[in-house]
């Protein structure tokens, strides 16, 4: 992960500040930086979203393609995650430097979405055992400014909300061979229900307290952090501990409670902005990358 070096005195200043609930940029321990969310930025995808959280910039594209269902789940479609840490974000990601972080993030997302209730995979099925929709979720890290997982999860939820999968009909011939017919109307599509899609909240332990949405400087001061994925109803779908340091079981419970609370507010804020963007419809001015 991209990191900054800090002197001991700077780290001490940050740690003491957090004890008193005043971070370097004036936020409290449970405040997020101002986030900018925009969907439908990439035209040749089924759905896309771009999220800017402080200095962290993430672009997610979702492509829906036809595939065969997995053997153990013949009447469901599935999601495939791929994370690309581009060298734009930091020089450490040049060449194959970003691969390790990319696979770690992708594996985390497989776990987060492994719960059956997060996304209705049965709606992605076209023909049991033969055809289904596979959603390829590609994440591109444009800039690393701390708190990657949260920003990526927000972007993934926004992109899935924005995804439009074309409606298909299966026609059967006399011999029994099936044909798939795509509807002629390009606006005739199915949308995914993202109400139960979880968002990740990263809680970094700094000193005796924990903070949400740590910047790069704060991440340099924290030895251990807890990643939890929370749905909009407050249910936890997965939990992961990161970092070299250790966490007290007491503090894990506290962090889980904080994460749940913050996660619910995060979902409310995100859904509000997505609905607002949706209501603007075609009159919305797309800002994109050259705004």
């Amino acid at each position: 992960m991209a990191s900054v070096v800090l002197s001991e005195a700077e780290k001490l200043y940050i740690v003491h500040g957090i004890q008193e609930d005043l971070r370097v940029d004036g936020r409290g321990c449970e405040d997020y930086r101002c986030a900018e969310v925009e969907t439908d930025v990439v035209s040749n995808t089924s759905g896309s979203a771009r999220v800017k959280l402080g200095h962290t910039d993430i672009l997610v594209g979702v492509k829906a393609e036809m595939g065969t269902p997995k053997l153990e789940k013949p009447d469901e479609g599935y999601l495939e995650f791929f994370v690309d840490c581009s060298a734009n974000a930091t020089p450490e990601f040049e060449g194959r430097g970003g691969e390790e972080l990319g696979t770690e993030i992708a594996n985390t997302f497989y776990r987060v979405f492994s719960s059956e209730s997060s996304i209705d995979l049965k709606s992605l099925c076209i023909n049991p055992r033969e055809h289904c929709w596979v959603l390829y979720v590609d994440v591109l890290l444009l800039e690393c400014g701390g708190n990657l997982f949260d920003a990526i999860s927000i972007a993934v939820k926004a992109a899935l909300f924005n995804t439009r999968i074309p409606k298909v009909r299966v026609l059967e011939d006399e011999e029994g061979s099936k044909e798939i017919e795509l509807s002629d109307d390009p606006y005739d599509c199915i949308r995914l229900n993202v109400d139960d899609v979880p968002c990740i909240v990263t809680l970094s332990k700094i000193g005796y307290r924990h903070v949400v949405d740590a910047t790069l400087q704060e991440e340099a001061c924290s030895l251990a952090s807890l990643l939890i994925s929370v749905t909009s109803k407050g249910a936890l779908t997965s939990m992961k501990k990161m970092g070299k340091g250790s966490l007290d079981p007491e503090s894990i419970f506290e962090m889980m409670e904080t994460g749940r609370r913050v996660g619910k507010s995060l979902h409310i804020a995100l859904q509000k902005i997505l609905d607002e963007e949706e209501s603007l419809g075609t009159s919305r001015q797309k800002v994109g990358f050259l705004g």
Binding site: A9, Y13, G26, V262, L266, A269
Partner: protein, 294 residues
């Protein structure tokens, strides 16, 4: 109580030119022709191609009699003798430290250019060389002055005054060097309760004003006591104001920072970074600065 705000992105508005003083600025991009007149000498940021003077960086053209140069807006720090810089130690080598100052090459701080504790003046011995890491380690921050520039462009720094040396607790803000206005002094004790060092290399250091003014420490002993909450609020507010000024492309100097601080007082510290609040504060600052001049 968690506070999460999300918003839709807004296209950047082209800001109207602020009152042009001394005529409109001639802005160029790399490859633009500045002039076809061959009577001019070419300065930094330009090159000659087929009798035309062409810009090699993006910025504003400056003309001093016959010398034409282009001052880039976003660039690495180009050091000059006498500049104050704030730097971070990257390496400890034999008899010198390598300091990162946001320039093209790491700057050099020689052991002989460093003040020994107690202010003693003597020749540096082998013990001093072995004890280098006790004075400055990797990742430490220092304030120093540029002593000279090597032929390859690397800077040689010195801390031969009691006001320079290792920096203690505080906040570092990194901006582009072109935002820091050249002034007589870069060490400011702001009346709001914090002090700031405006490094010419774009590193701005905000720290709590030390109470006693006795100087024999010379910057070697860093206080590890927790900074009181009131000072922290001032420092955080100043940090956000500086970020706001830089985002809105205003020059940084003590008066602009102070006016911005005063304009931000009605808002909460964390709200200063919201785009609409930022615009409002910086507009007020700009207005006050214009009133000050006019």
């Amino acid at each position: 109580m968690a506070a999460i705000t999300m918003r839709l992105p807004v296209a950047r508005k082209a800001m109207g030119p602020s009152a042009p003083r001394g005529g409109e600025k001639h802005l160029v991009a790399p490859g633009d022709t500045i002039t076809t007149d061959t009577g001019y000498m070419r300065g930094h940021g330009t090159y000659v191609d087929e009798e035309k003077l062409i810009a090699s960086v993006a910025g504003a053209v400056e003309r001093v009699n016959k010398l034409v140069c282009v001052k880039a807006l976003k660039t690495r720090y180009n050091g000059e003798v006498g500049d104050i810089v704030v730097g971070r130690i990257t390496e400890v080598q034999q008899k010198r430290w390598k300091v990162e100052t946001n320039s093209r090459l790491d700057s050099v701080l020689l052991l002989s250019s460093m003040n020994l504790p107690g202010g003693e003046l003597r020749r540096r011995s082998a013990e001093d060389e072995l004890a280098m890491r006790d004075y400055l380690q990797e990742a430490d921050l220092i304030s120093a002055e540029v002593q000279s520039v090597f032929s390859d462009g690397a800077l040689s720094l010195h801390t031969r005054s009691l006001k320079y040396g290792k920096l203690g607790q505080g906040v570092l803000v990194q901006v582009s060097p072109s935002f820091v206005k050249r002034q007589k002094t870069h060490f400011h004790d702001l009346p709001c309760g914090a002090s700031v060092i405006l490094g010419n290399n774009g590193f701005i250091w905000i720290y709590p004003t030390p109470e006693q003014k006795d100087e024999e420490a010379g910057g070697f002993t860093t206080s590890l006591e927790p900074v009181p909450l009131s000072d922290r609020e001032v420092i955080s507010r100043l940090r956000n104001c500086i970020v706001a000024l830089v985002t809105q492309k205003l020059m940084l100097f003590d008066t602009s920072i102070l006016y911005c601080y005063e304009a931000s007082l009605p808002h909460q510290i964390k709200d200063i970074l919201k785009p609409e609040v930022m615009e409002e504060i910086v507009l007020e600052t700009r207005q006050r600065l214009l009133d000050l001049e006019g």
